[in-house]
């Protein structure tokens, strides 16, 4: 009987596993189960730095990701931008991924125009924030930015000359930034910003990265990286801190996209653990059976 079960498990069609995975992710989405997180030090460090910087500090927001990594990085980009907006820093959006431009645009639309576009002190384009758009040339573009922004891009994303924008007065290169905040999905990304700009020019940099990339970036922390926000967990941590500090309006569920993905994450992780354990159980059982009937 157990032997038959073992045979069945050995021959299990992997489509059943696919189905189990789909269920583990789908059920929390449909049932609206979210998950909170306790912040970890590398995330807290970035949060504190943005808090500490005086109002109106220049922050370079480098959004180097595409739709394939938007699931992890877009909630992060939203949270970073919201925090900078609350602290009223001057934001310079830029990307070195051709597919990153729509990401910048939807971040601007979703945060700056929606949350800070009105009221008594609205964020004004060209004064409080600017979209420098896409820089071609991969890592070389970063190197160019760190020597002269205008050489890398004479105009902003709308085609306006950089010299016509008030925000650009006194800004010649990345050196004039108080902080680089990078949402990075791979090459070129966080590693290249550290290598080509932050380390040679001594500019503080914090990176929000995908889970895949985090092991590559962890060795740079804390010497070359000020903060490191990892994957969806990091995004949830940041949202949690933002919600704790500014409950109005950031404790609201609709402003916490990462929180809603947390529940699915938790269940899928449980499934993964179960599968690894079950798989190894089968492996051991097979070995045991082989010793019985060699």
């Amino acid at each position: 009987m157990t032997s038959r079960l073992l045979d069945k498990l050995n021959m299990l069609d992997r489509r059943w596993i696919f189905l189990a995975m789909a269920m583990a992710v789908l059920a929390p989405i449909l049932l609206q189960i979210g998950s909170d997180e306790t912040p970890s030090p590398p995330t807290i460090k970035l949060f504190d730095e943005i808090e500490r910087l005086p109002e109106g500090s220049r922050i370079l927001m480098a959004m180097d990701f595409d739709p394939t990594s938007a699931a992890e990085l877009y909630p992060m980009a939203l949270a970073f931008t919201r925090h900078c907006g609350v602290r009223r820093h001057k934001l310079f959006f830029v990307t070195i991924w051709p597919t990153g431009k729509p990401m910048i645009e939807s971040t601007i639309k979703g945060v700056i125009q929606a949350d800070f576009g009105s009221g008594d002190r609205p964020y004004v384009y060209g004064v409080d924030y600017v979209n420098l758009g896409y820089l071609a040339g991969d890592a070389v573009a970063i190197s160019q930015m760190s020597s002269d922004i205008r050489k890398a891009r004479p105009q902003d994303a709308r085609g306006t000359n950089l010299d016509q924008l008030p925000i650009m007065t006194g800004v010649t290169s990345v050196k004039d930034m108080a902080l680089i905040v990078n949402a990075s999905a791979g090459f070129p990304g966080g590693k290249e910003w550290v290598q080509y700009a932050a380390t040679p020019q001594n500019i503080p940099i914090a990176v929000g990265c995908t889970g895949v990339q985090s092991t590559q970036l962890f060795p740079y922390y804390p010497d070359q990286l000020l903060g490191l926000v990892t994957g969806i967990r990091g995004a949830i941590e940041y949202e949690t801190m933002l919600a704790a500090k500014y409950p109005n309006p950031y404790a609201d569920r609709s402003k916490r996209p990462a929180f809603l993905r947390g529940g699915a994450q938790r269940w899928a992780h449980r499934l993964m653990i179960g599968l690894i354990v079950l798989g190894n159980g089968i492996h051991l059982a097979n070995r045991y059976r082989r010793t019985l009937h060699p």
């Binding site: 489509r15 699931a71 092991t215 010497d223 070359q224 699915a264 992780h269």
Partner: protein
Amino acid sequence: MNRETRFWTVMFLCGSLFLAYQSFGTNRGVGQQFVVRVDATTGKIIPPTTDAAAPAVKTVIYEPAAKDDPEAIWSFSRTAGIWIAALLTLCIFSYLYRDNVCYKLAESIIVGVSAGYWIVTNYWEVLIAKVLVKLAPDVARYAFLPDTPADAKADYLYVVPVVLGCMVFCRLIPKISWMGRWPLAFVVGTTAGLKLILFLNADFVRQVRSTVLPLVVFSASASGGSELDLIQSIKNIVIVISVLSCLTYFYFSVEHKGLVGRISRLGIWVLMISFGASFALTVMGRITLLTMRLQFLFDDWLGFVRI
């Protein structure tokens, strides 16, 4: 008709019936998108009007809106877009069952679209915004970028990279294909030079420096003196030993026997632990992505989830 075909026929029928009911039988519909008309130059919303005499606005852009917004109008292109995106998503997921025509169709679409996407982006961002502006600022101002300064002078030095770049196409003509190597050499040479310096700086020097750690750490205690920080000391010792043993593993010109062999074995264990952690973190990313796609299907398209 075999059993499998029958099963899938029934599944498709049920799915279509369900979609039909959801679209026409419910109030919300499936993937319905609404927009408001906005004057791009002023940023004001233009109310929908049937009055033909109303002044025509040249610069109308559309922004997403809620269905119950009084100024909202139904958007055909966006509704169709959501449907197409959802169906393509299902086509790709169908690969999990088996390689099939639907998957192949989605795949061949993406091959064309992604190649085209890169070309268009680079056309506008580099060829126009960088090259044309430098070579013919007047043309650029009149045709594409009105904000190009009127006093900008043409910089003919930029002819060189353009010519060099175009030499790439010599590769397509067998007789002069050797000329196609010049631009390649330029690109490879630039990256080689840059990489040499920057990798040595950030990945060699800096990483070795970060590994220079005291193996015994003292921290200020509450009483004013200093006491041994055991956890930090252990961490430092583990880091230093691990780095050294991994470096020994990657040392190729010594036979791994005796002491060296044992140290390098330790090195491979450290690498395995680091790969295990990296696997778990990768899993996290892939699952998030799946969550996003399912949210799209069940929230944006079918509308099952409402916060």
